[in-house]
Amino acid sequence: MTDFTDEQIERYSRHIILPEVGGVGQMKLLDSKVLIIGAGGLGSPTAYYLAAAGVGTLGIVDFDVVDLSNLQRQIIHSTERIGMLKTESAKKTIQSLNPDVNVVTYNDKISSQNIMDLFEGYDYVLDGTDNFPTRYLINDACVLTGKTNIHGSIFRFEGQVTIFDAKEGPCYRCLYPEPPPPGLVPNCQEGGVLGVLAGIIGNMQAVETLKHILGIGDSMVGKLLIYDALKTEFRKLKLKKDKNCPICGPNPTIKELIDYEQFCGFSS
């Protein structure tokens, strides 16, 4: 552990004076390594706030470029960055906000071939993706590598947040053993989404990540938070580990990563 600079003491002063964070907690944040998958609706606010909070290393994975239709919710990008790689755009925004953060960009489409390498060295994985094949891949890789998966998803006016950590609770497959067949469940592009909902759910992922790193408060492991923006209502449901879970149960049938695109006909 190194000492804070004067500038860091000032930058993080509102954290450091919180008894639950303090200098020790702030140092934990600076030492933490978080991988954000998707620099889109959810990834924008999570990356932005985790950077502001002083999370020391942020990995950002995205293969796409900034598009005008993204800017209704993807606040880490801007109009002048249209056409720029999202990873580069996110890195620029983060570096101008907080030079303490080491931003590592991966301009890759995530697959079974590269996910294990991408995960290397990170403690936390934030799932801000938009399709089932990638969500199942992230879940399975997290279970196999023992990483904590901070999960958020949004649709129209509704969002879901939880933490999957198979070491102490359920994983995504305990909830939903396999992805839905194509066409039965819409994605955001088909269904639309209130832009600010991405901000709320993404920031809840950021809060839960910070709490987990700091070891404070109640964990979201084993709980699913559902936010309904139209009703202005939060609900919390219980999630249980499924003893028949195909990947984290006692008799797993899935022992290697699956690229669902190949046989489900999904596009991602």
Binding site: G38, G40, G41, L42, G43, D62, D127, G128, T129, D130, N131, F132, R135, G152, S153, I154, F155, R156, F157, E158, Q160, L175, Y176, P177, E178, P179, P180, L184, V185, P186, N187, C188, Q189, G191, V193, A198, I201, L224, I226, D228, L230, K231, R235, K236, L237, K238, L239, K240, D242
Partner: protein, 93 residues
């Protein structure tokens, strides 16, 4: 008895855009049949042909997943709340 059923966004097209409806029945399976009589086509979206919920949809009785109770045979009582929670993928686009 009447039970409140929460309808998720992807199924609201079938319930005239209502996010909360009332269904009658003594078990979850009864509720599904009652819902179908009110909103034709909804049961097929929630259940497999044999009446069990589809694998990408979970049904909660109050805060508990019915898979860890008695599945679709779980009894319901007045004042209970049933939630239909499908997997949703969105985030990035």
């Amino acid at each position: 008895m009447a039970v409140k059923v929460r309808i998720p966004s992807p199924l609201m097209k079938l319930t005239n855009n209502q996010s909360e409806v009332t269904a009658e029945g003594a078990t979850i399976a009864d509720l599904f049949n009652n819902l179908e009589s009110q909103f034709a086509g909804i049961k097929d979206r929630i259940c497999e042909e044999n009446g069990t919920p589809r694998r990408f949809i979970n049904i909660y009785l109050n805060e508990e997943d019915i898979r860890f109770l008695e599945g679709e045979n779980t009894a319901v009582k007045e004042g209970d709340e049933v939630s239909i929670i499908p997997a949703i993928a969105g985030g990035l686009v």
